[in-house]
Amino acid sequence: MAKELWKGNEAVAQAAIRAGCKYFFGYPITPQNEIPEYFSKHLPLVGGCFIQAESEIAAINMVYGAAGSGARVMTSSSSPGISLKQEGITYIACAELPAVIVNMMRGGPGLGNIAPSQADYFQATRGGGNGDYRTVVLAPATIQEAADLVQEAFDIADYYRNPVVVLADGMIGQMMEAIEWRDPKKRELPQKTWAANGTFDKREHNIINSLFIDAGDCTVQNKKLEEKYRAITQNEIRYDLSGDEEPEVVLVAYGTTSRIARAACIQLKEKGIKASLFRPITLWPFPEKALHDEAQKPSVKAVVTVEMSMGQMVDDVKIAVNGIKPVEFFGTGGGTIPTPQQIVQKIVTVVGGK
């Protein structure tokens, strides 16, 4: 298929429609507005429904209702809006509903700004809502990868009955790149026999619920979720490893920042510093073992994490490296984008060089 030029946000929406998502509930916030705008134009044409809700809170609860009745559904927002959705996300996780949530991150905390940022890593991977739950977190670095992962996100959500977060940033949302439309790998998806979509007098009533008033019952539900999260961790970890096979330094970066880190690697090579780039594609489950193995290589002097945040993923990197090598951090917070030169400078101070 010929390549087409797509804006990130629009590609995300089109990818969802390609994946059979006919329902979108959202609320305007920059820098992701092209997602709801695209859906509002195209969903009516495919017999779907777009609703601009009164708030992000309402939107995520519409997602809960739609997902609970068995529909393929998604919402999108950007950082402060995602904060508002956290209540709904923890209910969706506990009720075990499949849904896709896209976060085009912007600068924070608070109202922050509308510039690209990666400061919602904690919120996405730790859960900004209450209780023990996990969301699968997919972090595309290109528009192509965003289009691929959004499509697959629906299958992952359906397969595990779990919310999936696609965590990108304003840069990926706003820029245009040439992409090719392709289908995700085929998964056998279970029937949604649990959905509350009418008994039609043929079965007992289905109940979509996150209330387990008896502590014993709630513990059982927590254990059930834990087992599911273990299966996801076993099956769904993804990462990309590139660069020198015997690196002195391992750069760890995801999404937009990984592309800047890639440019930094080229400059490092010119300086005679051997570097590899470890790019997590799933932020949860985090590719812990693969990163540990990379860090363990005898050539590695240090692991350097680069983020558009004040240091969030670096916690997971430290857990993965587990003290076998020093872990350093370089980050830019508040919507500032790091330059390759800044990254190179940081690495030179860590491992030496000209």
Partner: protein
Amino acid sequence: MAIVYQKSKALTDAELHYCPGCTHGIIHKLVAETLEELGIIGTTVGIAPVGCSVFAYNYFTCDMMEAAHGRAPAVATGVKRTHPDLSVFTYQGDGDLAAIGTAEIVHAAMRGEKITTIFVNNAIYGMTGGQMAPTTLVGQKATTAPYGRQKEHYGSPIRMCEMLSTIDGCTYAERVTVTDVANVVKAKKAIKKAFTLQQQGAGFTFVEVLSTCPTNWGLSPLKAIDWLKDNMIPYYPLGVYANRTEEAK
């Protein structure tokens, strides 16, 4: 022996958890009878709130969902917009609907969501132990208004039927009560009308039911009914507030 009365098929065998004298049970029964009489148990999804009726999902034999506090109208929107052929209702209390969920109910009405909301107003937060609600009457005592609700501090109670009736998307809004047989019959009629309108494709339908809370009002069930009649009905008059149906035109 001839059967003269039996429990609605829309009610499960679960034992209701409501306090003695609480009128939630009657209201559940009226909703259940309506679903059965309209033949829509199998094609209905109900949305339970947070509050006293949080366990409503256990009591109805139709498919049910439990929503976050106040969000039932948004959840119902998600169900209805993806399954327009289903009947969808929310069952909400006054803390849920008139405080934390005000935005959701107003906007569901504004969009003319084709759902039915049963709003149970007992002028207090029951489940959490008798705190002041937006519907608590001026002077009425609550655990967070130990001196009685003071107008200068909290304003006057909100009247949801009146407010929602100003919205074009609200096809039908009626306030009823279940204090005696005559009113129970009227309440049933209102609930059935709302569900029937929904089936006919009308917009948002809303039935507010004035209800008692003997436990948190600190009154016997009978005295609670008297208190409702003497205090709530004067402030929350019964009647039809919105009727934008074809027959009304």
